[in-house]
């Protein structure tokens, strides 16, 4: 794990801060003077995981780079809710071009900064899962291949939420979306398709790849900070639950992200040059069912009749992640 656990201060390193911790042991988000790269008044839905993830990540990137950061944003919820022309929620230099070209634009910004001799200015490319795993995939792969000096962050909410919850290459099996309805013999999204972008990124053998979620702030901050210590192409994949698209209660956003990690469905790990270097152990193991049943996109697995075959299939996926990333059997309490 990237973070060093803090012992016995009631909430250790699990909560955002704690009055009993020394300043340096507190998270960036606990600082009243944090950047708030994405400020209030944005039009994200109630309980938006992406708004939270973007602020967590960019505030950490700003802190790591002495505030010298430019963000390049793909089309998607994050762009639309933050910047309905002529208003903007960004408190960071920010560019938006097209849905599919954010990695290429980020490459260009990095090249321009290099040409100007401003190597102190760092570039973050960001987008949702649609822009990243589908529409901008070619541009992203090129950015990885060239090892351009960009940190690309994907905020994965597992479908095209902005346009009305259509399936993307990151939509998990069995999930209901507008284009994978819960009808027929295999309701919801099919098994066996889709793309695991963290593993594809690793296959490019870029310096740094990590996954994170909005449920573990300290881990996310530590990974962004670590990513900024490398030069070259870096990729962080952040799970950000979407109350609208997932059919979950707005207050459960973090809880659902936590259950995704604790069930093993979303493995949290990091890799350098194509090799996994560490993974965050599961602290309180839960069955995938705990995660699934809070979301209406999986409601068809539980009513009118329970679909054990599909639930078991999803459990097998989680179990495979647990084996592959060694998520259990590490020394437990963290």
């Amino acid at each position: 794990m990237t973070t060093t656990p803090i012992k016995f201060y009631q909430v250790g390193s699990f909560a955002v801060g704690n009055r009993l911790l020394s300043e340096e042991d507190r998270s960036i988000q606990s600082d009243p003077n944090r950047t708030n790269a994405l400020t209030s008044g944005h039009r994200a839905c109630q309980g938006c995981g992406e708004a939270l993830g973007a602020r967590y990540a960019l505030d950490a990137a700003m802190r790591a780079c002495n505030d010298q950061v430019i963000a390049v944003n793909a089309t998607g919820c994050l762009e639309v809710f933050s910047t309905p022309y002529p208003e903007s929620s960004w408190r960071i230099p920010w560019l938006h071009s097209l849905f599919g070209n954010a990695p290429a634009v980020a490459t260009g910004v990095a090249a321009a900064m290099k040409a100007k001799g401003r190597t102190d200015v760092r570039v973050v490319g960001q987008g949702g899962d649609g822009a990243t795993v589908d529409i901008g995939f070619g541009a992203l792969s090129g950015m990885f291949e060239r090892n351009d000096d960009v940190l690309y962050i994907c905020y994965d909410n597992e479908a095209y939420m902005n346009t009305g919850v259509q399936r993307s290459g990151a939509t998990p099996p069995a999930a209901r979306t507008a284009t994978t309805q819960a009808v027929g013999s295999a309701p919801g999204n099919v098994f066996g398709q889709g793309k695991n972008l963290p593993r594809i990124a690793m296959a490019h053998e870029i310096p740094y790849v990590a996954t994170a979620s909005v449920a573990d702030l300290r881990d996310l901050e530590a990974k962004v900070t670590k990513a900024m210590s490398f030069r070259g192409a870096r990729y962080i994949h952040v799970l950000v639950p979407c109350p609208l698209g997932w059919g979950s209660a707005s207050c459960d956003t973090i809880k659902i992200a936590r259950l995704a990690t604790q069930s093993g469905l979303f493995p949290v790990f990091e890799a350098e040059s194509g090799e996994v270097t560490s993974s965050t152990p599961i602290r309180k193991k839960v069955d995938v069912e705990e995660y699934l049943k809070l979301q209406l996109r999986y409601a068809h697995l539980f009513s009118p009749t329970r679909n054990d075959a599909v639930i078991n299939h999803l459990q097998e996926m989680a179990d495979k992640n647990i084996r592959r990333y060694n998520l259990l059997n590490q020394s437990s309490e963290s």
Partner: protein, 539 residues
């Protein structure tokens, strides 16, 4: 400003867009009732003083504690800590060692010589307290803090009541008892010891504006037991009293104690310390039905005290007694079986409970007594205006902590009565359950176990059995508190708000919600570890 074609908004930050207007519910910071506070017979705000102690501010924590209870060092030894029985942390790992932290604060205060603040103004009212036990001393303390002139009268020669004459030294060392009582004396309270009050009304007419009666329950209950003339039968209260006064009672080598309450345990353990080779407790029901606190039973058993459960004493001879085996009927009452057993015994000590000795009150016919205890109303006042009563002489649990609680309650009501107002104590009934906490956030941290003297060593003398915590483990223990229902500034709400709508006010000041931007998603409520934010309808 000139706006671009087809654009109605100005070029500016989204801060102009008050998304709070979307909201139908809003979060609100609240103070809820932690189970420990709810269970405390002395009405301590435990969560609060633990919170203060957590950053090492022991003196402030002690001052907060003594707002409700002047005896933390005593409590930390003799209280049966009902707070810990209901601590929500026990569902996570183990209850917080509240009692051990209380003792640490109490001992620390004695060591540092911290003083009780003087009252702001003298009220001019005079109050007489009859009985210098836990209830009387607590009332004296609280009345003095409220500015009243207080006199305490007691028939014994040293104050403390059952804390001195009932609880043995190995549970409550006398230097601790004296230190906490002296601190109360120094507040300017008059103690008139060796002064028996024979008539409450005469005493009151000496110029007191109110009286608080707390004479306890000192009369041992008797049971008719056939006995030969040479049998030695004593009562437990007298034995404990004699030991305290330095008069060693003649108990013999083998001692049998009859009864299953805390006094029975205390007297059996005392007998062992006085040199009895064998101390046997005879009790008519089973361990789980015994009124003694389980901790006391455990400690007694560890010290080699034998217990004959389901037995009654049938006949007492000079060196032996006959007991009869009992069995519980369907209703849980013991019934004789006709099976007998003989025990060697040089003496029998009766610990069958105590009654209030109303003869002490002399002319008190106008005070209502029902079933052997004095009737008081919700303000602790007896049927006679201005005369209040509490402690063991009114119906309640007979523990030190309950007595201390009575003293406080009576003091506050006496104060109100004297000032011709009423004491409003609206108890917060919004109790926090474990399920309402977000336990994910609490680190696993097992309870620090207080060291106890080796059982074989401790049964030989009166040294204190349970040891205290040192500063480092007291701090650790305090920090195990989950702060149920009250903010402890973990910054979670501040961090997890997707709309940056939480304002952090700085250390000790907590947080505020910026309703201009709060969309009412409720993440702060569900991610609050201590359940101290709730959603309410937004009108």
């Amino acid at each position: 400003m000139e706006k671009p074609f087809a654009i109605t908004l100005s070029v500016e930050s989204s801060l102009a867009n008050h998304t709070g207007s979307w909201r139908v519910e809003k979060p609100e910071y609240v103070h809820r009732m932690p189970p420990c506070n709810n269970a405390c017979p002395a009405g301590e705000n435990i969560q609060n003083w633990l919170y203060i102690a957590e950053d090492g501010s022991y003196e402030n924590a002690w001052h907060a504690l003594i707002q409700e209870n002047p005896f933390p060092a005593i409590m930390g030894r003799v209280c049966y800590h009902p707070c810990q029985d209901v601590c929500n942390r026990s569902f996570l790992d183990e209850a917080v060692g509240i009692n051990s932290v209380e003792r640490f604060l109490g001992d620390h205060a004695i060591e540092k010589g911290w003083k009780i603040p003087a009252p702001d103004v003298e009220s001019g009212f005079k109050v007489l307290i009859i009985g210098a036990g836990p209830a009387g001393l607590s009332a004296a303390y609280h009345l003095r803090r409220l500015g009243h002139d207080v006199t305490v009268r007691d028939a014994t020669h040293a104050p403390g009541g059952m804390m001195r004459y009932g609880i043995p030294k190995y549970r409550l060392p006398r230097e601790i008892l004296d230190a906490e009582i002296n601190r109360i004396k120094e507040m300017g309270i008059r103690f008139e010891m060796n002064t028996r009050v024979d008539d409450v009304h005469v005493a009151m007419d000496e110029g007191f504006d109110a009286v608080f009666l707390a004479i306890g329950a000192q009369l041992s209950k008797r049971a008719y037991i056939p006995a030969s003339e040479a049998a030695r039968i004593m009562d437990a209260i007298k034995v404990l009293h004699d030991v305290e006064e330095g008069n060693q009672p003649l108990l013999g080598r083998k001692v049998v104690v009859y009864g299953g309450g805390n006094t029975a345990m205390d007297v059996a353990r005392t007998a062992k310390r006085l040199g009895a080779e064998e101390a046997v407790i005879v009790y008519r029901r089973t361990r789980d039905k015994a009124p003694a606190n389980d901790l006391e039973i455990t400690e007694a058993l560890e010290e080699g005290i034998l217990v004959k459960w389901l037995s009654t004493v049938n006949h007492v001879g000079q060196h032996e007694l006959r007991i009869e085996k009992m069995e519980l009927d369907e209703k849980g009452f013991p019934q004789p079986t006709g099976e007998f057993e003989t025990l060697e015994a040089d003496s029998l000590i009766l610990a069958l409970g105590q009654e209030v000795d109303f003869s002490l009150l002399g002319n008190s016919a106008d005070l209502d007594v029902v079933d052997g205890t004095m009737t008081v109303d919700a303000t602790m006042m007896t049927s006679h205006p201005g005369i209040f009563a509490g402690g063991d002489m009114v119906p309640a649990d007979r523990t030190v902590t309950t007595g201390v609680g009575h003293g406080k309650k009576a003091a506050r009501n006496i104060d109100a009565w004297l000032r011709k107002s009423t004491y409003e104590n609206t108890k917060n009934t919004d109790l926090v359950t474990y399920e309402q906490l977000n336990s994910w956030y609490y680190t696993d941290a097992p309870h620090v176990v207080r060291e106890r003297l080796e059982a074989s060593r401790r049964a030989k003398d009166f040294s204190e059995v349970v040891k205290g915590l040192d500063e480092s483990n007291a701090l650790y223990e305090a920090r195990r508190c989950m702060s149920c229902g009250n903010c402890f500034e973990c910054d979670n709400c501040f961090g997890v708000c997707p709309d940056n709508a939480i304002i952090k006010l700085g250390p000790g000041k907590g947080f505020e919600i910026n309703l201009d931007y709060c969309k009412g998603c409720g993440i702060c409520v569900s991610e609050c570890p201590s359940s101290s934010i709730v959603m309410v309808a937004d009108k």
